[in-house]
């Protein structure tokens, strides 16, 4: 279990009730997203998560600047002081 700093960008700010940053205790990404759903309610769940509780197709989650899809996805462990970014999938190209 670690105290994790979470930052929201773009439409994720609206989903997080206009907050741009928060701190959450969680041991992995799945737990973190559960906690955020509890804190921010239905609007967060509906906008940011899919039916399985993971980030929906157009949302990316980064732990210490690495996409969780390149780590252990929802099972990516979190430690004290980690930084998590939640942002729209950035198209580029």
């Amino acid at each position: 279990m670690g105290k994790v700093n979470v930052k929201f960008f773009g439409a994720a700010v609206e989903a997080a009730k206009r907050q741009t940053e928060t701190e959450v205790d969680a041991s992995n990404v799945r737990e973190l997203l559960d906690r955020l759903s509890d804190n921010f309610g239905d609007s967060f769940k509906q906008k940011v998560l899919d039916s399985k509780g993971g980030p929906q197709a157009f949302v990316n989650v980064f732990v210490n600047n690495t996409d969780i899809r390149h780590l252990k996805d929802l099972e990516t462990p979190l430690n004290d002081g980690d930084e998590v970014l939640i942002l729209p999938a950035v198209a580029g190209g």
Binding site: G10, K47, A57, L85, P88, V90, A91, G92, G93
Partner: protein, 408 residues
Amino acid sequence: MGTVQALICRRCDAESPPMKTISCPKCFAPVDVSYDFDSIQLSHDSFHTRPRTLWRYRELLPVQDSRSIVDLNAGFTPLHRCRNLEKLFGLKEVYVKNDGLNPTNSFKDRPASVAISKAIEFHLKTVGAVSTGNLAAAVSAHAAKANLPCYVFIPQGIEASKIAQITAYGPHILSVRGTYDDANRLAYLASESYGWAIANITMRPYYVEGSKTLAFEVCEQLGWQPPNHMIVAVGSGALMRAIWKGLNEFERIGLIGNGSTSIHGAQASGCAPVATAFKTGNESIKPVARPDTIAKSIAIGDPGDGTYAIEVAKTTGGRIDGIKDIDIQEAIKLLASKEGIFAEPAGAITIAQMKKLVEEGQILPDESVVCCVTGNGLKSVEAVQPSSGQWQIVDPTLKALNTVITNW
């Protein structure tokens, strides 16, 4: 000028007013510019006296005020009839749309011109791009013309010739330690933090509108007859979808008949997340962490429009394949030696894909094909190695020359 109605979400259909944005405020999905098609009155004759640039299609571009337009004469590039390739592949009609002849030598001048013009219309003071090289050059050049400060984010390891070209236009260059996707994320965070107009991120709905003019021109240059097949390289997948959107809009306003063009994509095997998902039928695209290919222009591990590129291929009867670097290099030489067109790897990959599609019966002998060559070969000279026996060192005498050419 353009008759923009709104931004429409591709997923939830929510409408939002035209603004600087990356995605739908309700569901995060990409948004598209929609037009008031009923008010657009265009016929083939409308174009006779218009400028030979992408701005000839101004009613279908999202800039409302002509004073905002930054124009380096991008667009209306040549459509070459390739009779040597026709003979080689046994096809009736083969064309190359040579977008390497744009002002900064790639198709990216199209979206750059539109994105920077729209940024000016929005009164944004700083512009930028995240880029594997071509877009950085295009945005920097248009920013220079508009006297706007410009920040470009590029991954490490792109070609020296591209860096030299970008440098000359005078932007602030941020060489990001990491991949294109790392640069992409940083550029997004910068756009959120500083309010910059990043062409392919926060100006994206407008940016992609520039790319669709490639499809408009192909139709016009073929006498308003769209081809049976169009082949494009796939990096993010945005160009493939933009071409589909362009063909649909021309149909909708009656400039061409109803759709019969199959749109095919090609990715380098060393970075082929879209081709892999197309082949396996997966709904989601698994990003590639470390792209490894000579086709650096399309080395995008996490393609934002990948699912839409797949949708376009499926809807139009097209395909998306991975092409090996060695086949891309062969295609560069084939296109140059048979048709006199020197393409960068991401441009020549379309020729390799055409070969594959012909061999596998996807393109039939009596059909027409347009390969979109999106970048000039001088952008990545490292990709071309002389063939064995192609070079000879000769003493400066006629006798020595005679010996060499007799034995060649």
